[in-house]
Symmetry: D2
């Protein structure tokens, strides 16, 4: 049945505006990334938000939950800013979506910057979602964590077990 | 206990010799790739071969089998040329190494070429190896296959179920 | 006698801080860029400032002028932020430094972002400085302009004759 | 009147065939490179050959000479494989094309490999052609050489005065 990829933005998809020197969102790079990875996973990509996760509201999270709930697929990857990824994971877990494996992932460096961790993380999240039992997880740094067992270390930028 | 990564070469690690215009092996890029992916997986990297998989002999495969057997870790990723990856997977399976999850992966484009699928594949293989039950697998194109259920389609370069 | 390259910072040398999402200066990338370009030009690289050109003060410009005046070389390239590049060019021209060809260049996109115009601009500036007669110039977008005949179009980011 | 860019192939434009592991020609990357360099030079790009310069015949060189002679522009850049660049430069010089500045350039590493010297060389050649007096030149490694004063050092890959 394949994997649904819900795109919400985050550093993953940020680009550099050469006129202003600011980072901004223009489009999602997930299709291009899957192309580079030569992915053959049956995916449906749905862009539902395009934002910095620090700006995410309860209404935004309700929207993410609703899209997970109504998705036909039982395997869902969500690309998400890292700053509040754990918070969204918790909201999803508390929504008690039955029978679905949901994996959140993101990047610390924009994909377009060349040196990004995004391609590694996308390969990782897409792999974990195919084999982990139903629940909500965060996949970062090559590892996976259950939603209630992870925190982002803001000093190092790494996700770690708590 | 962590993951052992056995490096055998393959397109993954090929570089371009600007004087001759030929591809060659110099060193493995796996540590650099894990750095870019900001991986925090506990890994032990062991370079055991550095070759094109078309040149791999039975003796080379026996060496790979021996390194898998003697490894203390129960999770092993092998970076390998794609041309004979399935053949090495079969040799490993026939060696009946008990209690270990072994995942072979590779790349169609050298990591140093920028547009490589290698980072995606490494993220994928490292994830699959942490969650799949003991057996020998190939992880390519975002998917995993049991050793006896996969072939490389030489016309497309994709790995597919057989 | 070679070319002196005076590094003052600018977008050229900006990097991305993955923890804060901000751009910052750490080191100059000019030596690495010359390596990539396989440059064999006899250069002396001198880092005199490392700043955004919008923050540049009269004292900073006086320092640049002093370094140009005291340099032994008669060919000088200055890497500089684009926002006030023309202003610094004017200050240099008004300082009446005799017998020296001074070329300012910069980038709209940081070198480390992969898609940067920096390598092209550095190749261009280094070439113009070897053949243009003594005066102060701006080299951007593959073109050169005398200091008093150029402006940056802030809407397009291109430098154009005025 | 602008610059005519005659594309003949060379390492500049080589790509990697991931199925065969061979390098091949598909299209020229010169327009994309000028875009990355944010070039505003008035150029006319003409693809006349797409080949390895080791395979270049007298007929190919006659074709290049003819295109230079008939070009309306007085400034011509030729992208060319490095192996016989000097030989083509000599053929052009011996053809005595009046009143035109012709600059040959190339790359040691394909543009698509990310680590290429091509963007630097293109910026350099395009700059030299705008300011050098009529004659035939080679622009490599940030330097320019008259056609009769240069050789490629095959051990180092650098062009040097002879």
């Amino acid at each position: 049945m394949g994997v649904r990829i819900l795109v919400t933005g985050g550093t993953f998809d940020k680009e550099y505006n050469e006129l202003t020197g600011q980072l901004f969102f223009r489009k999602t790079h997930v299709p291009e990334m899957l192309g580079r990875g030569r992915s053959r996973v049956d995916v449906e990509i749905e862009r539902i938000l395009m934002m910095d996760s620090l700006d995410m509201t309860d209404a935004d999270r309700a929207h993410i939950i609703e899209r997970c709930r109504s998705a036909g697929e039982r395997q869902i990857v969500i690309t998400h800013g890292t700053d509040t990824m754990v918070e969204t994971a918790r909201a999803l877990a508390e929504a008690s979506i039955e029978g679905k494996t949901i994996v959140l992932t993101g990047a610390m460096i924009p994909y377009v910057f060349g040196s990004s961790d995004g391609l590694f993380n996308l390969g990782s999240a897409l792999s974990f979602v195919q084999v982990l039992p139903p629940a909500v997880y965060v996949a970062m740094n090559g590892q996976y964590f259950r939603w209630d067992g992870v925190r982002k270390n803001r000093d190092t930028g790494y996700f770690e077990a708590k």
